[in-house]
């Protein structure tokens, strides 16, 4: 019995910490897109990038501070020539991961005509430990997955934006 519990914990615990995967069907959208952005920065690449960010240049020093505690950033952004090149089914596997993974919860879901914006946050205790954004427009689709605590105040300051503040308590299921 103890062995079975240990085995279950061994199998289940790593799944909880597993990063969100982009399914192959989603990655194939790049072939249809007029423009695409594919950024996959894991821990090692984040560290490497951090070494090359200047501590004295304004934009870079802010980025250095923002990304210091981050474990990974994954971005997929597609711009299409015409409407209807992607469907909700393309996003379903990503949504399924975000809604089933431990600690993740949807905090914003906006549907405005054909445009959709969803924000998911992962809570680790009382702090936000990750954020994912799905932004779908008529001819553009973007999915962002940030693993680690991201300081939105610093991020908004870096680009001169007024991003919504997301206190840890906002990430509730």
């Amino acid at each position: 019995m103890k062995f079975a519990i240990a085995l279950c914990a061994f199998i289940v615990l790593p799944l909880g910490a597993q990063e969100i995967q982009f399914p192959a069907s989603f990655e194939k959208l790049a072939a249809k897109a007029k423009e695409s952005v594919n950024v996959s920065l894991d821990g090692a690449m984040m560290q490497l990038a951090g070494k090359f960010l200047s501590g004295s240049k304004p934009g870079e020093s802010q980025a250095k501070e923002i990304t210091k505690a981050l474990k990974a950033i994954y971005v997929r952004s597609f711009t299409f020539e015409k409407e209807g090149e992607y469907s909700d089914a393309d996003l379903a596997p990503i949504r399924a991961q975000l809604t089933s993974a431990r600690g993740w919860s949807k905090i914003v879901d906006v549907l405005d005509k054909n445009d959709r914006a969803e924000v998911y946050a992962r809570k680790d205790g009382e702090r936000m430990a990750g954020v994912a954004v799905i932004a779908g427009e008529k001819k553009e689709l973007t999915v962002v997955y940030v693993d680690g605590p991201i300081d939105l105040d610093r991020l908004s300051g870096m680009f001169g934006l007024t991003l919504p503040s997301m206190p840890p308590s906002a990430a509730k299921k």
Binding site: V37, V39, I73, V108, V144, L155, L161, L163, P164
Partner: protein
């Protein structure tokens, strides 16, 4: 003519080798020739210099590749942050527009 022949005979007459000549010749034969020793040293120095040069070039190449990877990672990170900020701002605008009755923020 006879005088010339006498001179020639005198000049070509067999003379005994000086004392210790054979020993000195044998000793020189046993020791490596100075020119060969110098070449031997030069060859090693050239090989060492070549090895150092190759290592420097290799090291430079590795550093250059690392620098390129780092610069690429940095650029990707800045793009990722820009897109993240843009899409969060896009979401905020949508929320504000919908909550303020369709007016653009």
């Amino acid at each position: 003519m006879n005088r010339f022949e006498d001179d020639l005979k005198r000049a070509l007459r067999r003379q005994p080798a000086p004392a210790g000549f054979a020993g000195r010749v044998l000793a020189r034969l046993a020791a490596p020739a100075p020119k060969a020793r110098l070449w031997f040293r030069l060859r090693w120095a050239a090989a060492a210099a070549l090895a150092v040069a190759l290592m420097t070039v290799f090291q430079y190449g590795v550093q250059q590749r690392q620098r390129d990877r780092g610069e690429l990672a940095k650029a990707q990170m800045l793009i990722a942050l820009r897109i993240t900020a843009d899409k969060l701002e896009y979401t905020r605008e949508k929320v504000v527009r919908l909550t303020s009755g369709g007016e653009k923020p």
